[in-house]
């Protein structure tokens, strides 16, 4: 009884305060990344403001993707707010599965959101998901180890530099490995990294006729380089290391270098989560032959499925969770180093954020440079730097990822692996009707 009264009272206050019908409950599906966990933790503030109740469904990335896609595609209507990435948004937007988010209110300040990030989430001129945090990739390195060995990391390293450094700093007997890179098969794991590597070696996934290019000299060179470097100067068991595993390795002090997502920087710099918080420095993503697509572009974003019956309240939540005010709230309650990165100019102009996050400028440059419309040196029929924004890519990426992991573990040669990958991709593209 008492709770009912309290709820009514609260709802009454909320209605009074905002003029919006209360006692609604939103179901929010999100991924279990640290920044989203913070969002869940801070969400009582949203309820205080609006009176809207929130139900959370938090799952690991792949399970979430499968669950949410099935729900939206079959119009199950279980979720009011879904967390999706730069890969799904354009595909789903085209299918008309998402509500356009161009009416989040005047205070939302769309212009404050970085243009390349907005572009990732825009189809036909409409924003279909609001960026929660965005990332590119760059090079993490251990300043202390570099100093001790008398090495200097240039601001823009080349892969030749990187290999030289890796060789010098690889000391497996002390559990110190020259370089950590993603090796776990998956389109969002090893293929995200290998994709950027192929780009900077001048290669591409498909030519303009959608013919797969995996046996091209550029792919061969890039994958040979990758296998060679990681085999010789990487940690053991690289084929089961994805982003998380590598982050654990780097933050427990086992890697001299690590090329991966910029979004991890806040965590590497947080002494509660990392042993190397005061020993890490940053450089741009290494390049080989061309600059295009050397660092990837990714955003985690919040969208409203068209099957949701509570679109108005859902948009209200998204406007809150991706606003300047929310970023400030995180900065003030969790420490500025943990503020969701990569989305807004105002964050990067904030002196407190700049002070807490010495990596801010490098990250900013990387994100602004990651242009999904020009991912490679050669022309391509697709958008996306480290992925190809077509529905078939998840399967293609997984298969090619497996082949490359096989080459990495030494089960096959690079040539064999790429041959297998090429024919697998050809089969899939034929089955899907892109090529005859």
């Amino acid at each position: 009884m008492r709770t009912t009264i309290a709820a009514t009272l609260l709802a009454g206050i909320a209605t009074f305060g905002t003029g919006i019908a209360a006692a609604e409950t939103l179901t929010i599906a999100t991924v279990n990344n640290a920044d989203m966990v913070v969002m869940q933790k801070l969400s009582p503030k949203f309820k205080e403001k609006t009176g809207i109740d929130l139900n959370w469904v938090i799952l690991e990335e792949n399970v979430l993707r499968q669950r949410v896609t099935t729900d939206i595609a079959t119009k199950g209507g279980q979720f009011d707010v879904v967390t999706i990435g730069a890969y799904e948004t354009p595909i789903w937007g085209k299918q008309n599965w998402l509500a356009a988010l161009d009416d989040l209110g005047d205070s939302y300040d769309y212009k404050d959101v970085f243009e390349p990030v907005r572009n990732m989430l825009t189809v036909n001129g409409k924003l279909y998901a609001a960026p929660f945090y965005a990332e590119s990739s760059f090079t993490y390195y251990r300043k202390d180890l570099f100093d001790k060995a008398g090495l200097t990391m240039p601001e823009q390293p080349t892969y030749t530099d990187i290999k030289k450094f890796a060789a010098a700093l690889h000391k497996p007997a002390d559990n110190q490995y020259g370089i950590c890179l993603r090796g776990k098969p998956g389109w969002g794991e090893n293929m995200a990294y290998v994709g950027t590597l192929v780009n900077t070696f001048g290669g591409r996934w498909f030519d303009m006729e959608w013919k797969p290019q995996l046996t091209s000299p550029e792919w061969k060179e890039a994958v040979t380089f990758y296998v060679d470097m990681l085999k010789n100067y990487g940690p053991p068991g690289a084929t089961s290391n994805g982003h998380n595993e590598n982050r654990a390795l780097f933050s427990s002090g086992n890697c001299a270098m690590w090329v991966d997502a910029t979004a991890a920087a806040g965590h590497i710099y947080n002494p509660a989560e990392s042993k190397v918080a005061d020993k890490t420095a940053f450089a741009k993503a290494p390049i080989a032959k061309v600059e295009n697509g050397a660092g990837w572009g990714w955003a985690w974003a919040l969208g409203v499925p068209n099957s949701s019956k509570k679109a108005a309240a859902a948009k209200q939540f998204i406007a809150w969770a991706t606003s300047k005010d929310y970023i400030t709230l995180v900065g003030e309650t969790q420490g500025w180093v943990s503020a969701p990165p990569g989305t807004r100019k105002s964050t990067y102009e904030n002196p407190e954020y700049k002070k807490a996050a010495p990596f801010a400028d490098t990250v900013l440059k990387a994100i602004l440079a990651a242009d999904p419309t020009r991912p490679t040196a050669q022309p391509v029929p697709y958008a996306g730097i480290q992925f190809v924004a077509i529905p078939e890519f998840q399967g293609i990426g997984a298969q090619v990822g497996q082949s490359i992991a096989a080459a990495l573990s030494g089960q096959t040669t690079v040539d064999q692996a790429l041959q297998t990958a090429q024919s697998a991709v050809e089969r899939t593209m034929k089955q899907a009707g892109y090529i005859k």
Binding site: K41, L59, E60, T70, A248
Partner: protein, 273 residues
Amino acid sequence: MRLKLDRHAALSVTGWLAAGLLFFPIAWMLLTSVKTEIEAVATTPSLIFTPTLENYVAVQERADYLKFALNSVVVSFGSTLLALALAVPAAYGMAFFPTKRTRGTLLWMLSTKMMPPVGALVPVTLVFRDLGLIDTLAGLVVVYALINLPIVVWMLYTFFREIPREILEAGRMDGATPLDELRFLLLPLALPGMASTGLLAVILTWNEAFWSLNLTAAHAGPLTAFIASFSAPEGLFWAKLSAASTMAVAPILVFGWLSQRQLVRGLTFGAVK
């Protein structure tokens, strides 16, 4: 005497060694769950450290453990009761009034269990959506009752076949109907078998993750969904993962230990004659 003692000692050592090896992964999980994240990934694992409960607190802060655990309990026991209710008459009929088709039916039932769920995900999702069963406990109870039904029927069938027919014949002479037989003669005799069948079904349901993840959202998610939100988060997560795992496993482990005598008593599958 000396020899006997030695043999006993050797036996004890071997037995404990085997048990220790099998239990080690669980023990290590428990140990890791009370370390800090940094200690948990130390390359030389420390055995001496100050235990902390901070991981358990962190896990509880993120997810309402009791809600998930309660869903697991309702779904496991609910589906098991439903499966037993459907299976007892079927197994009875098959065991005592077999026809030419009995064996075929039984094996057909078992073969339904061999279909990989990944092939049936979309059809089942569509049916469930139309019936309004997605993200409901009732929906999960039905799914798991059906998934376990073949095994349950089969186990009960083997138990029923063990019961000496003379008893039933005596009952029949006294004018008992088949239903009376089932209720007053068979069920009491088959109770141990039913108990262990039920226990097995509870354990299997508790641990199944594919359907429980794909058919739930905010309301009906059991502990497998709870674990899925900790299974690969970013950064250092091993200690928190261990804490969450311990919380997910503990109830069924304790339940299993407490009921292991019943479980064992019935797990004969008619195989001991």
